[in-house]
């Protein structure tokens, strides 16, 4: 077992899958000699050559469209978009086309494309390098959406995503890339898409989150435990789509109180669906209204430190919400 960062885990997952399967290749802006904007593909062009590590023109629609077309011929492309904020030109190919490849052909065509998207804020990225984009894909049947928060989860889930026969939106929170380190086994392992994980078991309150916010939730849970207020259970969704409703419901039924935390805008976000799920299938177990700590409804986090802090959910904001919920 070695301690690795999230970006190292991502790199290892891709390298192993490319070594294992010749059909796997990466394409994107700067993925070649530059090694990727976050160095996710560092050393790849030396190891796998220019045919399987393709530096693309700066044109996102074609990065996704070309990946999709290659997948129709049996390849397993991993397109990279440098920042989630630059994804929008590719969205027709992702939501309009890839997500409907199987359905629109009555199952004749598959689209085994794993699009890697660095996303999220708290890094002074401003309006166009901070965005959370998951809600758009969470809403779209035909896509799978994965958002890990640890090196272990990132590696195991990315390897599974690459082997999946469907388009997978693989969301990597930029702030976790080097900040979050953890044990990663030397030997091969895979993690199933669609399974949440209880990152911290607890008896009194449930917090459901994903991505960077899971770490803030864990800090908040420890604080409440230290203060003797509540024993908080932290559920890391890991996969947003398909949603692991069983794990969420089991936790809510156990604790009777639910807080959902995400950095994405509050309205129409993943949290809205979790709240609806609890209302629909755990109503009799709830001892308090479902609470949410989410990004506010402004386009995304601004550049100035004050404004970014005001936008971002923080450990302190989560602690306050948990205290309120505990006191209800």
């Amino acid at each position: 077992m070695a301690v690795k960062s999230v970006i190292e885990a991502v790199r290892e997952a891709m390298r192993e899958e490319m070594q294992r399967d010749e059909r796997v290749f990466v394409l994107g802006e700067d993925v070649g000699w530059r090694g990727g904007v976050f160095l996710a593909t560092q050393g790849f062009i030396e190891e796998f050559g220019q045919e399987r590590v393709i530096d693309m023109p700066l044109a996102e629609a074609s990065i996704m469209g070309i990946a999709l077309g290659a997948s129709f011929r049996g390849m397993r492309p991993i397109p990279e978009v440098e920042f989630a904020d630059f994804l929008w030109p590719a969205v027709n190919q992702l939501i309009g086309e890839a997500a409907r490849a199987s359905y629109g052909t009555n199952g004749a065509v598959n689209a085994p494309v794993t699009i890697r998207i660095p996303y999220g804020g708290g890094i002074r990225g401003g309006l166009f390098h901070s965005q959370n984009v998951e809600a758009y894909f969470f809403h779209t049947p035909g896509l799978k959406v994965v958002a890990p928060c640890t090196p272990y989860d990132a590696k195991g889930l990315l390897k599974t995503a690459i082997r999946d026969n469907n388009p997978v939106v693989f969301l990597e929170h930029k702030k976790t890339y080097r900040l979050v380190r953890g044990d990663v086994p030397e030997e091969e392992y895979l993690l199933p898409i669609g399974e949440a994980e209880v990152k911290r078991p607890g008896r009194n309150l449930t917090v459901v989150s994903y991505g960077l916010m899971v770490h803030y939730c864990l800090e908040a849970a420890e604080q409440l435990a230290a203060e003797g207020i509540a024993d908080v259970e932290v559920v890391d969704l890991r996969t947003l789509k398909p949603l692991d409703t069983d794990t969420v419901l089991a936790s809510v039924k156990k604790t009777g109180k639910l807080l959902v935390v995400h950095e994405d805008n509050i309205t129409g976000g993943v949290g809205s669906e979790i709240a609806a799920l609890a209302a629909d299938q755990a109503f009799d177990y709830l001892d308090a209204p479902v609470a949410r700590v989410c990004g506010p409804d402004v386009p995304t986090m601004p550049f100035a430190q004050t404004l970014e802090d005001a936008y971002m959910p923080s450990t302190q904001k989560i602690v306050e919400a948990l205290r309120n919920l505990a006191a209800y």
């Binding site: 629609a61 070309i66 077309g69 390849m75 027709n92 490849a101 199987s102 052909t105 009555n106 035909g142």
Partner: protein
């Protein structure tokens, strides 16, 4: 491939001049009279079904149809070259009935598709008619979004090149789609990597109701190929043999040297779709004049003139087509639509 230098100086010679003059036209390399009779038969069946579909729409039995009338010769010419080659794949668009049906669908399959019935070979009636995939005949057309298939086709060609399988990919689009950003992105990338792809622009001069002069400041889409570093050729898309020859050359070039853009100059003989009324934006004289440039009539006249088919034989072929289309219509009319339980199938691949 020296023949494929950029030739973008206006209209190609039409088939009509030759035929009117009564000159004997030598058959292109690799083509036999039997091929031409076979393709005449396909063309007549396709035209018969195209007309029938329009009629069925007016009877309320076909919800929507985009007629391919006027595009038959171009599509069938390309298909003939692709079939002779034997290792091609196609990304068509919604006006490519001739390519799709000509590739081997029966009139019954086509009618099932247009009526939204169980047995539609492209999507089992999830999509608009003949849209989805027919992998048995090497065809994918995923969507209605124009030009979305262009970047996909280039990706497909990239995969073929990576796998070294020698396959050539054809992608088809109208003059309308040539304005899309993805058309530029697709051609640019294909040029950079010299991919084995043939871009077939079926230029009928209208993007639904918008004439070419309002779509672009140039006369020939083919001109753009030079900017991507590959040849752009103007082809008489009303002439099956001219389309065949251009496509045959393009296949050779694509496989050895990289992309080619073929601009098929042709006519749209019908409104955009069954929901459209072209008299609102096309002068009556223009519509009448265009009808005189029917590629099906031209190919029939050519076959007669060259002695490959007599009047009687052509009438027999038309009668066969009517019979086949009648049977297909009756069958599809009586067939069931897919069961409602299909709604949730194939959202995800296994």
């Amino acid at each position: 491939m020296t023949q494929l230098t950029n030739q973008t100086d206006g209209q190609a010679d039409g088939p009509f001049g030759d035929i009117a003059a009564g000159t004997s036209r030598p058959l292109p390399q690799g083509i036999t009279p039997e091929d031409l009779v076979d393709y005449y038969r396909r063309m007549i069946t396709i035209r018969t079904i195209d007309e029938r579909i329009w009629m069925m729409n007016r009877q309320g039995k076909v919800p929507i149809a985009a007629s391919g009338q006027g595009h038959e010769a171009a599509q069938l010419g390309v298909l003939l070259a692709a079939e002779k080659d034997g290792n091609c794949f196609h990304f068509p668009y919604y006006r490519d009935l001739s390519l799709k049906m000509g590739s081997g669908l029966t009139p019954t399959q086509v009618m099932l598709s247009f009526m939204g019935k169980e047995g539609d070979p492209y999507s089992n009636a999830r999509q608009f008619p003949l849209q989805g995939a027919d992998l048995e005949h090497n065809i994918i057309q995923l969507s209605n979004v124009v030009a979305a298939g262009l970047t996909q086709s280039v990706g497909y060609a990239l995969a073929c090149k990576m796998q070294g399988d020698g396959r050539v990919t054809f992608v088809y689009f109208g003059d309308g789609a040539s304005s899309q950003g993805e058309t530029h992105e697709a051609m640019n990338f294909a040029g950079v990597h010299k991919l084995p792809v043939v871009f077939v622009c079926e230029n009928n001069g209208y993007a639904i109701s918008v004439p070419q002069r309002m779509q672009m400041a140039i006369g020939d889409v083919a001109n753009r190929a030079e900017g991507y570093g590959f040849p752009g050729i103007i082809v008489d898309g009303l002439d099956l043999l001219a389309s065949y020859e251009a496509a045959r050359e393009a296949i050779h070039h694509a496989r050895r040297e990289g992309p080619v853009l073929l601009e098929m100059k042709l006519e749209r003989l019908m409104p955009h779709t069954t929901d459209d009324d072209d008299t609102r934006y096309r002068p009556k004289e223009e519509i009448e004049a265009v009808r005189q440039r029917d590629p099906v009539a031209a190919f029939g006249a050519f076959m007669l003139e060259q002695g490959y088919l007599t009047e009687e034989q052509q009438e027999e072929i038309r009668a066969d087509a009517r019979r086949a289309v009648n049977e297909a219509t009756d069958f599809a009319d009586a067939a069931s639509p897919p069961d409602a339980s299909h709604l949730h199938q194939h959202v995800y691949a296994p």
